[in-house]
């Protein structure tokens, strides 16, 4: 998995410096409306579709922040947030 991730603080760095944090699933379900099923979906279910996805990464060997990037899971390359592919 030798690819580059762009940290908003440190800039482009080796992917080995980061820890994957999963797909970005948007905001948590509202506690007022939450059901066991909706929480289970949010906590455990992922889309896992091939293509561009928004995902969380943690710069564990660097500045220590969590941030999101877009990555094409079929090419393992980071995609610019401005790219048309990132529009859901």
């Amino acid at each position: 998995m030798a690819f580059t991730i762009t940290c908003p603080i440190c800039g482009p760095r080796s992917g080995y410096e980061f820890r994957y944090g999963g797909e970005d699933k948007g905001p948590r379900p509202d506690p007022a409306d939450m059901t066991p099923e909706s929480w289970c979906d949010y906590a455990h279910m992922t889309d896992s579709r091939p293509g561009v996805q928004k995902e969380w990464w943690y710069h564990r060997a660097g500045c220590g922040i969590w941030f999101t990037i877009y990555r094409d899971t079929t090419t393992n390359l980071e995609v610019s947030p401005d790219s048309p592919e990132t529009v859901a």
């Binding site: 603080i9 440190c10 080796s14 410096e17 710069h59 060997a61 660097g62 500045c63 220590g64 922040i65």
Partner: protein, 216 residues
Amino acid sequence: MKSDNRLRQSPVKLDGRPHRTQVRDHWPLVSEYADEGDGPWLVDLSHCHRIDFQGKPLGAMIPESLPEPEAPGDVRIQDMTMITRMGNVQGCLWCFGQAPANPIGFNGTDITEATLALAIAGRHTFAIAEKLSSLDLQSPGEALPRLYQGPFARVPCQIVVLDAVPGREMLLLSCSRGYGRDMVEAITNAGAEFHLRSAGEDRFMGMWETMTRGLS
């Protein structure tokens, strides 16, 4: 029970025979080693006080008498103190030489005892560094001094590149105290081909003063 005579202990012990030593603020330190050579040098600065501070906005945590690093990676120096900015809400104050431990009552966490601080200085400094880290420490696009955060000898470190003038190259390394022995071993082995030797604090302070004269 009196505790005034208890001493702090650096996480590392460098090779070489100390020529002059002293105790400052309960920290025993080597001012000069016998036969320090012409460089490059490895200097243990673990006794230098370092204070981590966090706040939003970060500038509100910094007294007006000190300069504020405005963006992550920025480093500001004033006399014997240095302020680095790691992120949007976190910075670190370093106090060198005889500078008081907390000169202006900084509201932060003293991390001196918890971390290791080393300096690599003199010619071939970056040749040694590039054997141990893939970070681009000599990027011409970055103004010096500059803070980098990333792996050095595979250890997450804060690295401050202070000077890159040939013969005056100097960088600071800081990481968790527990990595100290392995970090020194890695640097010593990487520097062997360049005749890296241990140097005392006086060597670093001499280069620091030369560098800060160039900044002013």
